[in-house]
């Protein structure tokens, strides 16, 4: 039985070979149609020969003999069990399945005797309709009904031409005919043929489709039930086996062809003569043998173990269907065929990778995602700032970030994913879009899960598998596996002694630097706090208010920390050998640079405290103490000191000025009093910094006066102080100019003189002019030797002062 099965499958392969396409339906179908049409018209004989004749004869003979020997011949059929008939049983079941399938789809099990005729006639329109749908593969299935109807008829009329199927006991039908011997069958056929003249003619046309069927048998199996056809294609083994089988089969067929040729020729003659008669003959033929038809139906399935079974059963039922139902069925078939083809196209690469390969790739991809995601985990601004502070802030400050300023590397994974999703979405293919979208979502979710897993992982740095003796410790690029595990001394134990030390010597260099660092740390944490400031709470939003309150609380705490780190409130020790900690703090460039930042985070009271501290210690400030120049012609200050002075005027003075410009008048008066009381004004006046501070105070007082904000009493106080100051300054006024006249950097002096001159009484102004007259004249004279722009600048500086006292350089002409 299996042998038959192989034969049937083989021709399929042969056909597919020439077609040269692995696509199931498309290629073979159009050709099949053409071939069939041509066969109907002209050369039916050739097709018929190739496929059926030889095979049928030889197979039948051999099989029958064997059957007789082994099973006791057809007569003893009842005695022989059907256990051996595996194929037949399978075929039966397959038939049943196929039938059930058709029945389910069609819901029309009724068998009408005239139906076959209709089916026969209708077959062509159906095929055409299928062609219109565009699925040519499907046209073959459309023909299947034709074939079957014909084949059923054919089987009835011609037992002889197809003896091979007939004798096969494997055929699903268990009924008595199974065990008929070849001779019996042939005899029956002959009798029938003789009895009914027309029958052979009918049988002939049926044969024509059959050859075509044989030529393109692959169409049938694939179309109705996708299973058998698809499965073999995917695996190379199947195809190999198929290739071998066809060869054998071909040789057999060729051998038979010669034998059958004579008979075929006869048939062809008849057929050619009466092709038109077919329709009318149909009813006649169909009428007599309904039972026989059923019996004969089985033989064709024997040919093709795979696809043959369903094909036959379907057509059988299709025959009885109405046009609509059949169309519906065909449409469904076409759909299935289309789907199968799609699957085939998609499955070209199937089997190239083993599941292990796929898992491997997937793992690599996920690893990469997680690695990228590791950065994603850092993507929250805090972590990014922690890891990449310089770059992030630098990019913000300098602008023109080169790459993605706020997009650390890890973002690329997500960005990429999102972009892909958008791109696919843009396509607009609805189903593909949905699918892709879902896919992307799933991928993202997966990545997120992976990220979370990766985040969670470092928390357990060790894995102790139950029952094992050792530990497995994890490591990654950021937290490498520690080779040494040293326990740090507990911070509380380690830090305390140091603190004690630092308290003991607050002014040695190391502890000073430590203090500065403490200030900076406090500053940075305050700046961090500033960034995390919650939005100002709205009315009634208790939660936000609460949050804000907590935040304020924290800021307050940090402010206190900063304030203590500054050590501004350290007691002032008169005549101390070491400078006050805060002044020492200011003596370092780092400390000077910190002032503007500190001023942003402290309140007015703290600012005035700082200003007071500076004023009180004015002559012990490094920029004052080291910057003394005793008059014109003195050697230049050292580079370091000049840099310190510049830095002070750049960093500290603006902050102080910013405060002084808003300070109430009484504070200005107080500060001036401090200058007079605590410092040696002469020394202070010889420095740029000192003069700057004095200028600041004086000009502020003048502004207050101009604005009329000063009360009479305050102003009196101020004038008193000013007079004292003027008296102290006057002797040194000639020496407050730095360097020689050609050094050029004396603007601040003129500014100071101007500030003094504005506030001075006329009598004081005269004294002032006398004191600096020489310098004024020198500068004016010197400026005449200078290029125009420098000259005007120098004269402008002098003019600052001259105008303050109601004069002008022009007057000196």
């Amino acid at each position: 039985m299996s042998f038959f099965g192989f034969n049937t499958t083989l021709p399929r392969d042969q056909d597919t070979g020439p077609a040269g396409s692995r696509g199931f339906f498309e290629n073979p179908d159009p050709f099949a149609e053409v071939a069939r049409a041509s066969a109907l018209e002209d050369d039916d004989a050739i097709d018929f020969e190739d496929t059926y004749d030889g095979l049928g004869d030889q197979l039948n003979d051999d099989q029958d003999e064997f059957n007789d020997d082994t099973f006791g011949g057809g007569d003893t059929a009842p005695a022989v069990g059907r256990d051996f008939d595996f194929f037949g049983r399978t075929a039966q079941v397959a038939d049943a399945i196929g039938e059930e399938h058709v029945r389910y789809t069609l819901q029309n099990p009724q068998a009408a005797p005239p139906a076959p005729l209709h089916a026969h006639v209708a077959a062509h329109p159906v095929a055409e309709s299928t062609k219109r749908t565009g699925y040519e593969k499907y046209s073959d299935p459309g023909y299947i009904p034709d074939l079957q109807a014909k084949s059923s008829v054919w089987g009835l009329s011609q037992k002889k031409p197809e003896p091979s199927p007939a004798p096969m006991p494997a055929m699903p039908m268990p009924s008595r005919k199974m065990m008929m011997s070849l001779e019996e069958v042939e005899a029956q056929m002959r009798n029938r043929g003789q009895a009914f003249g027309p029958i052979p003619t009918q049988s002939i046309p049926q044969q024509m489709p059959d050859p075509s069927y044989m030529r393109h048998p692959q169409d049938f199996p694939t179309l109705p039930d996708g299973f058998p056809a698809n499965i073999p294609r995917n695996s190379s083994e199947h195809s190999l086996r198929r290739v071998d089988c066809p060869r054998i089969c071909r040789t057999l067929l060729q051998a038979f062809r010669s034998c059958m040729e004579a008979r075929v020729l006869c048939l062809h003659l008849v057929q050619n003569n009466i092709p038109q008669n077919l329709p009318p003959q149909g009813p006649r033929h169909a009428g007599p043998p309904p039972a026989q038809r059923q019996q004969q139906m089985p033989p064709p399935p024997s040919r093709g173990p795979n696809g043959g079974l369903p094909v036959i059963t379907n057509p059988q039922q299709l025959v009885h269907l109405t046009e609509e139902q059949r169309n519906a069925y065909l449409m469904e078939d076409a759909k299935r065929a289309k789907r199968n083809h799609k699957i085939f196209l998609l499955s070209r690469g199937n089997g190239l990778m083993t599941p292990q390969d796929k898992n491997f790739i997937t793992r690599i991809q996920l690893q990469q995602l997680v690695a990228a995601a590791g950065n994603v985990a850092d993507a929250d601004p805090e972590a990014v700032l922690a890891e990449d502070f310089y770059y992030q802030v630098y990019s913000q400050i300098r602008g023109a970030p080169r790459q993605h300023p706020h997009q650390p590397l890890g973002h690329f994974a997500q960005t990429y994913l999102l972009q892909t999703g958008n791109r696919i979405g843009g396509h607009g293919n609805r189903r593909a879009f949905q699918g892709a979208d879902n896919h992307m979502q799933r991928m993202q979710q997966q990545v997120q899960r992976a990220v979370e897993a990766a985040k969670a992982k470092p928390k357990n740095k060790q894995l102790i598998i139950e029952g094992s003796l050792g530990k497995i410790s994890f490591s990654n690029a950021k937290a490498p596996k520690p080779m040494l595990n040293l326990k740090r001394p507990d911070s509380s134990e380690g830090a305390r002694p140091k603190k004690v030390q630092s308290d003991l010597s607050t002014s040695d260099r190391k502890s000073l630097l430590g203090n500065i660092e403490a200030v900076y740390n406090a500053l940075m944490s305050m700046e961090d706090m500033e960034r995390t400031m919650p939005p100002p709470p709205e009315e009634g939003d208790t939660e936000a208010i609460q949050e804000h309150m907590e935040w304020r609380q924290q800021v307050q705490t940090l402010n206190q920390k900063l304030w203590q780190a500054l050590k501004v409130m350290e007691p002032i020790v008169p005549n101390a050998t070491t400078p006050h900690p805060f002044i020492a703090f200011l003596s370092y460039p780092k400390g000077k640079k910190a002032i503007p930042r500190i001023f942003r985070h402290i309140d007015q009271e703290q600012r005035v405290t700082i200003l007071t501290m500076i004023v009180v210690h004015l002559d012990s400030l490094d920029v004052v103490r080291l910057a003394q120049h005793s008059g014109p012609g003195e050697a230049q200050l050292s580079v370091a000191v000049r840099e310190a002075i510049d830095l002070f005027s750049l960093a500290v003075m603006p902050s102080l000025l910013g405060y002084v410009n808003e300070a109430p008048f009484n504070i200005i008066i107080g500060l001036l009093g401090l200058v007079i009381a605590q410092t040696q004004v002469i020394h202070v006046a010889r420095t740029k910094t000192g003069l700057g501070i004095l200028t600041m105070l004086l000009s502020r007082a003048e502004i207050v006066k101009e604005a009329g904000q000063a009360s009479e009493r305050d102003w009196q106080q101020w004038v008193e102080k000013f007079n004292v100051l003027f008296d102290m300054l006057e002797p040194g006024l000639a020496h407050i100019f730095p360097g020689s006249i050609n050094s050029g950097d004396d603007m601040y002096v003129w500014q100071f003189l101007a500030a003094v001159g504005i506030g001075a009484s006329p009598e004081q102004q005269q004294r002032l002019v006398i004191a600096v007259k020489d310098r004024v004249m020198e500068t004016v004279g010197y400026s005449k030797t200078l290029p125009a722009d420098m000259s005007s600048q120098r004269l402008g500086n002098v003019n600052l002062f001259m105008r303050a006292i109601g004069l002008d350089v022009e007057l000196l002409g």
Partner: protein, 98 residues
């Protein structure tokens, strides 16, 4: 990560790199990675007489471990910010070690 972060800000600036074999190369810093591997473009070898084989090299990838010095354009370095970044880095390290 501090140096990585720092060098990232110097991309597209001209830097001079001295390798541990004394070759000094000036070029435009194209990119730097976490190992401080460096990509240079428009390369110019300073002592070309001693290294004629490098005369036709226009760009290169330098493994971070062979770099001895990187000479920076001063104007492109924000010292104050770098100080703060250093403080943060130190704090981070301290935090991690603990």
């Amino acid at each position: 990560m501090l140096f990585f972060s720092f060098f990232k800000t110097l991309t597209n600036q001209t830097v001079t790199i001295e390798l541990k074999n004394d070759i000094r190369i000036r070029g435009i810093l194209k990119s730097v990675d976490q190992y401080l591997n460096i990509k240079l473009d428009d390369v110019e070898v300073l002592d070309l007489d001693k290294y004629p084989h490098l005369s036709s090299v226009k760009n290169m990838f330098i493994r971070g471990s062979v770099v001895r010095y990187v000479m920076l354009p001063r104007s492109e370095v924000d010292v104050g910010l770098l100080e703060d970044a250093t403080r943060r880095e130190a704090a981070n390290q301290a935090g991690k070690a603990r």
